[in-house]
């Protein structure tokens, strides 16, 4: 009995991790590098969309600064791996293999990034106690912009082990590449780690949604006054949603920073990126975890599919959004999950 319940608690994680291993094994042989990169992009966007959904979809707050948390996580993780590699291993070359020292440093960096992002989420979440709607949106937007300016003012990245060893921790923490971006990060992100974190994100979001605590989150978006009246501590839960969402965005930032073919710079993680994630949540359905996953997949693939007619890419994108808003304003799935839809059950 005990063993069975333990299995019930861990099975989704085990299955997800197994899938991550399978993807990683396939990556070297079956899946061409272009598609590996695309799958990593999809995974990172899934983490971003599902986590933003905790704030915008579950509690009904409107945050458009998600890329800001991603930047906090990305830069923190990047600094840990880059400078950590110099200090511990003498160079920033990727240590190849399964779960190497380098891998562990990288994951530690991502988790550190998540913690810092969660702290930032707490700070940004506090105004949500007093502000709502457009006003809160402006605060979150302002957070992202302030962060962008701060990052642009950081110093050049230190290039040699010698420089790094002589520098003080404060210097290391402020040598993040300025407006040129943090370049030279080792490419530790692979399909395994992306899908391990995708699994964790999905398990957390779904377990939350289908629990008493998650329903309390949802009650805030439905009617805040009624939620308070039945004993839901709306202020605490709103901040909690921000903290949780920011932590996952921080992880996504860490994965993004160490992914091949991306550049970690302040412009890349600005308003445009935040907006991309908001669109995924809105299109997928506010409050639908599977909807956010679906939208993240489609909106990662769509620009690739439209690459041939690149001059029509943005208009088609915009048109799709407008049509969606007119035909199905609650998003593809609304609040429901894909397995709860009528056409799926039949």
């Amino acid at each position: 009995m005990m063993a069975r319940s333990l299995w019930g608690a861990l099975a989704p994680l085990a299955i997800g991790f197994a899938a991550a291993v399978a993807l990683q094994l396939a990556a070297g042989n079956v899946i061409p590098p272009f598609y590996v990169k695309l799958l990593m992009d999809i995974g990172i966007n899934v983490i971003l969309a599902v986590s933003l959904n905790l704030v915008n979809g579950f509690t009904g707050q409107f945050s458009i600064g998600h890329a800001g948390f991603m930047a906090v996580g990305g830069y923190a993780a990047g600094a840990v791996t880059y400078y950590g590699s110099f200090l511990l291993f003498g160079s920033t070359h990727v240590i190849e293999g399964w779960l190497t020292k380098g891998d562990l440093l990288f994951v530690g960096g991502c988790l550190f990034g998540a913690v810092l992002a969660a702290l930032a989420g707490f700070v940004v979440g506090l105004p949500s106690l007093r502000l709502r709607g457009d006003y809160l949106a402006i605060v979150t937007l302002g957070f992202g912009e302030i962060l962008r300016v701060l990052l642009q003012r950081t110093g050049d990245v230190l290039q040699t082990a010698d420089q790094v060893q002589k520098a003080s921790p404060a210097t290391l923490a402020t040598s993040l590449g300025g407006s040129l971006g943090f370049s030279g990060l080792p490419y530790y992100t692979d399909l395994f780690w992306v899908y391990v974190f995708v699994t964790i994100t999905l398990v957390v979001a779904l377990r939350l949604k289908f629990s008493s605590l998650g329903r309390a989150f949802l009650s805030i978006r439905e009617n805040e006054i009624a939620a308070e009246a039945v004993g839901v501590n709306t202020t605490r839960l709103k901040v909690r949603a921000f903290v949780l969402a920011a932590a996952f965005a921080g992880i996504a930032g860490g994965l993004f920073a160490h992914e091949i073919g991306t550049s970690l710079n302040p412009r890349e993680l600005g308003f445009q990126k935040s907006f991309d994630v908001v669109i995924m949540v809105v299109l997928g359905g506010m409050g639908s975890v599977s909807g956010a996953v679906l939208a993240a997949i489609v909106l990662t693939l769509l620009p690739e599919a439209l690459r041939g007619f690149s001059e029509f890419r943005m208009p088609i994108y915009a048109l799709a959004l407008i049509l969606m808003m007119i035909l199905r304003p609650q998003g593809l799935l609304g609040l429901k999950e894909i397995w709860e839809m009528k056409w799926f059950k039949r």
Binding site: V203, E228, A229
Partner: protein, 262 residues
Amino acid sequence: MVQAVSSLLSVQQVSISFGGLKAVSDFNLELPDQGLYGLIGPNGAGKTTVFNMLTGVYRPDHGSIRLAGRDLVGEKPHKIASCGMSRTFQNIRLFPDLSVLDNVRIACHLRTKSGFLATMLRLRRHRDEEKAIVDKSRRLLELFDLASRAGEESRSLPYGDQRRLEIARALATEPKVVLLDEPAAGMNPKETHALAALIRRLRDEFRVTILLIEHDMGLVMEICDRVTVLDYGVTIASGEPAAIQRDPRVIEAYLGEPTEAV
């Protein structure tokens, strides 16, 4: 007059102003355990404002509100709910996109103990609690004849059902005192009659104390032990229903000043 010490909810000299408007002045109420009291008055008399002060939506300018001896002034609404006072709303406030069952389940959250980690790890305590919540919610829905609609979105319920669902939700917080804001509004006479029987059952079976705002005088006269009448924020009468009905000040407040017979 010395009030009985045994009152569960004791409201003394509570007042509130909005700008220059004194919405409620010196409101007093002594509600005994398992009492069923009415609060009536013309539109705009300040009845709902009294409810909003009792439940912490508004903070009174002065006065005291005590529930079972505990001072509630300045507490947040969710805290007051956990102290044992819950309410329904005049303009129905359900969780519209959520199912009927979920509406009640959310109100059970208050009495749960498992936190974030227990939820994430699906600990036994959490799973047992979830099961208990479903059982409790279904029992409540059955009592309110809503069990057959448990899976529907609450927005799709007919008006009368929505009102009853709000009461069921209020009860799910395990309150000592329930405040009902115009529970019979929009109901036909037959539904109102059934509601009267239901409210009595609530008091007798759940042992809750009830204060209700109502415009349907038939309902008030039928079920309330005592009635307080507000007009322009001032308590103009308080007593047993039969006496209130004959009170000239009450008649004046509702019907206007008497004119000379022609």
